[in-house]
Symmetry: C2
Subunit: 231 residues, 2 copies
């Protein structure tokens, strides 16, 4: 039933276990569930039992699972950028923006994985774009160039963060299997056929780690090298 969710709520009735449900409480509980028991713990049954209500009660507050996920994503965006103030060093500031975005995504990987590529056009996003482009303008880039370079930078950050979140959102078994692959599969290859892989063999297990910071640093190096006013 998709017309089940009312605009405002006046009457509220405690569940069998005495809890007063609300959109806020549900989102908070969902985030706690994900944090404690991993991304796969978020489903209506488990959420219902964590809240002490029937699973179907959630449909009084959200049209469905996806609606709930979007509500969660909205909370994450607000939290991630809260209180950020750009400093004098534009490179360091862009770096902090990148780390904050990633941290926000990784704090709630499953929600991030589902909502990562959606454009919000809302206050927080607009403010972030303003800040980022402002930083590149302060580095002396021409406006058109600043806009294009900001886009390349933030897209790299967002897509990397989304990739990391997507990986974290996998069920534990698959995550560990992907991880082990670099040890098991890639280690035992024919040296004659795969000389490069053989040469870097000791490094292969670390291929399972995130390259986020290395990528951001490379990107920032390139931007700094192109900047008219230096750093």
């Amino acid at each position: 039933m998709s017309t089940r969710v009312p605009q405002e709520r006046r009457r509220r009735r405690p569940t069998r276990s005495g809890v007063l449900l609300s959109e806020d409480l549900i989102v908070t509980t969902a985030l706690r569930l994900i944090g404690e028991h991993g991304p796969e713990a978020l489903n209506v049954r488990r959420l219902g039992s964590a809240l002490g209500c029937d699973p179907s009660a959630l449909y009084r507050y959200f049209h469905g699972t996806d609606d709930l996920v979007l509500a969660i994503a909205d909370r994450i965006i607000g939290d991630a950028m809260a209180g950020f103030v750009p400093g004098d060093d534009w490179v360091a500031s862009l770096r902090e923006m990148a780390l904050r975005v990633r941290a926000g995504y990784l704090a709630h990987p499953r929600a991030a994985a589902l909502a990562a590529h959606r454009v919000t056009r809302r206050g927080n996003e607009i403010q972030a774009v303003e800040t980022g482009i402002g930083l590149l303008l302060s580095a002396g880039f021409e406006p058109a160039r600043a806009a294009r370079l900001y886009l390349a930078f933030i897209d790299t950050v967002l897509s990397h963060a989304a990739a990391d979140a997507a990986f974290e959102a996998l069920p534990r078994q698959r995550r560990e299997a992907d991880h082990r692959a670099w040890r098991n599969v890639y280690q035992g290859l024919d040296p004659a056929r795969y000389p490069a892989l053989t040469a870097v063999r000791p490094e292969l297990p670390s291929m399972a780690d995130s390259s986020f910071e290395e990528a951001v640093d490379l990107m920032l190096e390139a931007l700094a090298a192109r900047a008219p006013d230096g750093r």
Copy 2:
């Protein structure tokens, strides 16, 4: 049953409807299904009926759904890299790899949305990693450094390509709405509150375009700057 999948296949028996199953045919059909009806259309029942076989027959070829997804991912990689031969110029070669990967993802945007970010551990992926790391070794990087830098590079390429594919996989309406947002929402902002956005205003509509090539070029610039042997 996870030991159900044999190494090689000699005997083959037609299904009730006369089709001869094979790993290749299954992957091809899965790609077609996803391309036609979206990623959520990929499930064993539907795939079975598209192939003209019982759903459980698929478990003779793949350990489970995830295994199938990895095979699909590897197919996309294979198609994208087919016939690629690295040239003398390592920067140009990495650039072509990047463009090929992106083209491969964009050729199957909906499947890419499903299978990006995974380690396939299969032939095509292994070959691609071998090639990429080989290029960085040829640039004079130490093995450990080459491996880490390749990871940063390919992760950037893959996550960017995945983001582009995800955007392409959106329904037309949503894609166009996102596109218009940069014109409509961002153009009409208060200049006093958003000075940077106002300064780059003419450039805003182009923010809807992909930044893939710009990002790859920045990344390659940084790599070239760090390379011991130059370009």
